[in-house]
């Protein structure tokens, strides 16, 4: 009995322990299984969250990018664009451009269509005159837009095209002013170096003339040398002006007074050349923020050109009026006019039709107007005359230098 008891005891003691162990093992396995299931579930949730988060991020990246982005299909039809894309073109909603096609509406340079289709990335800049854009836009004036077009690949096959657009107007302006500043330094250094020898040449010539050297022929030659030295000096001065525009103070100016002053200065010269000056200024002209000296220079150039176009005399009419956000001033002459080939090139530095011209007058004017965020344009008809139009922004008050 004792044995049995002990055996039974042993048994009762043993069996529960064995079962317990097994159960515990199963329980443990179940538990870890459950745990791993929960972990997996958690992981899945995490992954889903990450996926959602990642999608959000890409959406933000797309929508909030300052670069305009559009996706087009293989035919070039636009599928989706971001906010910046609409803003750069001044469009209200996507509905405004559902018709837009990459290959026909985005001014793709000829030849680049082929390049894009064969998988190349293409970049180009285009000038947009939003006042005559040909589509409904909230933007105004002339802006430069930089396009980058890249094919979208999936497994080596083009499945569409990405169009990136940026307004590059400001960047161009900065680059231009940097270029001019650099040119200014170069010119300033050059002026120092060149003006000394010019002074020696002119001084020698003038001195020789004073001393009565040589015969009449020699003296004529000396006069030419002297004149040419000062002509060279005037070219350098104008070039310096051309490159140093912009670093000046601007103040609110009453253009009526400013114009009167300019007319006063030129009145005598005009009378001598049989030119009648007519004024047609609106009574309440708005003030404009300009550098008066520079604007004077612009009008002097325009008026002198007008006078030169009328060697037999004629009429110059100056009219001024408010036009939208601009003060518009027209200078119209009854001169000989310009052929389109000349008109096209009048703002080019060193382009001149005159024997004694430096070809810098209108180039300087053009740059001055740019610095004032204004515009200078010319219309001309041979035999009828020329009209210069100046637009100066009203209330424009940039940081003064």
């Amino acid at each position: 009995m004792k044995r049995k008891k002990s055996a039974a005891k042993k048994k009762t003691k043993k069996i529960p322990r064995g079962i317990g162990q097994k159960n515990a093992k199963i329980l443990k396995e179940a538990d870890s299984l459950l745990k791993s299931l929960i972990d997996k579930e958690k992981e899945i949730i995490k992954t889903e969250d990450a996926l959602v988060e990642s999608m959000r991020r890409f959406r933000d990246l797309f929508e909030q990018s300052p670069i305009g982005v559009g996706i087009n299909d293989t035919k070039g039809e636009v599928l989706i664009v971001n906010k910046a894309y609409l803003e750069i073109f001044g469009l209200k909603s996507f509905a405004d451009i559902t018709h837009q096609n990459l290959f026909s509406d985005l001014r793709l340079p000829p030849g680049d269509k082929k390049r894009i289709r064969s998988g190349h990335v293409v970049q180009y800049e285009s000038e947009y005159d939003f006042n005559n854009a040909g589509f409904s836009t909230s933007r105004e004036g002339t802006r430069y837009i930089l396009f980058t077009i890249s094919p979208l690949f999936r497994e080596k096959e083009i499945i569409g095209y990405m169009v990136q657009i940026q307004d590059s107007t400001e960047r161009r302006k900065v680059a231009e002013s940097q270029r001019l500043a650099q040119l200014g330094r170069l010119l300033s250094d050059m002026a120092h170096e060149v003006n000394n020898p010019l002074m020696i040449i002119s001084g020698r010539a003038e001195l020789a003339l004073l001393e009565g050297v040589g015969d009449e022929k020699v003296r004529d030659i000396l006069s030419v040398i002297l004149d040419q030295c000062f002509f060279a000096k005037s070219i350098i001065q104008r070039l310096l002006k051309y490159s140093r525009i912009g670093k000046v103070e601007k103040r609110p100016v009453d253009m009526r007074k400013a114009l009167d002053l300019i007319i006063d200065i030129l009145q005598h010269h005009f009378k001598m050349s049989n030119i009648v000056l007519k004024k047609d200024l609106e009574p309440d002209l708005p003030m404009v923020t300009v550098n008066e000296k520079q604007i004077q220079e612009v009008f002097m150039n325009i008026l002198r050109n007008s006078a030169d176009a009328m060697p037999q005399g004629g009429i110059i009419t100056i009219s001024a009026m408010k036009e939208k956000d601009f003060l518009r001033i027209d200078v119209r002459d009854t001169g000989e006019g310009m052929v389109p080939e000349v008109l096209e090139r009048i703002f080019e530095p060193f382009f001149t039709t005159r024997q004694k011209g430096t070809g810098l007058g209108l180039a300087v004017c053009h740059t001055i107007m740019q610095e004032h965020s204004g515009y200078l344009s010319y219309k001309s008809k041979v035999g009828e005359g020329t009209t210069a139009t100046i637009l100066l922004p009203i209330g424009y008050s940039p940081a003064s230098y």
Partner: protein, 136 residues
């Protein structure tokens, strides 16, 4: 204005020579210097100088420093500055305002003479006037 003493300072010998010939021809007495220091030495030596023609850009003591040194001497001499650059971009701002008479090279000698005569005449006149102002 014949007989007046003119100090010409320019590192370019050719220019000094031209101005010397020209001014002598016009009856002036010319003293020559080839940099600011030489010019200053002449002034300090107590020699009579009625007008200075000064080149802006010179090696060694340039126009700007020379101008400041002359101010320290407290002598009343008109200065005509000749510069190669229209914009005077390299000129020290503190002196820029003091340069009242600037001619951009190349200068017509007749134009230089006109300005010289004007300054010498007003200096002769202005002396009594300035003294009168001071006594107020």
């Amino acid at each position: 204005m014949r007989g007046k003493n003119i100090l010409v300072i320019d590192d370019e010998r050719q220019i000094v020579e031209i101005l010397d010939n020209f001014l002598t021809l016009q009856g002036f007495k010319v003293k020559k210097a080839y940099d600011g220091q030489q010019g200053l030495d002449i002034l300090k030596s107590g020699k009579q100088v009625d007008l200075i023609i000064l080149d802006e850009k010179m090696p060694g003591m340039g126009g700007t420093v020379f101008f400041k040194e002359v101010k320290k001497l407290e002598i009343d001499v008109p200065v005509i500055v000749l510069t190669g650059s229209v914009t005077m971009s390299q000129i020290d701002h503190s002196v820029k305002k003091e340069y009242k008479h600037i001619l951009v090279k190349p200068v017509r000698l007749s134009e230089l003479l006109e300005l010289m005569n004007k300054l010498l005449a007003s200096k002769a006149k202005g002396r009594s006037g300035r003294k009168a102002k001071k006594s107020k």
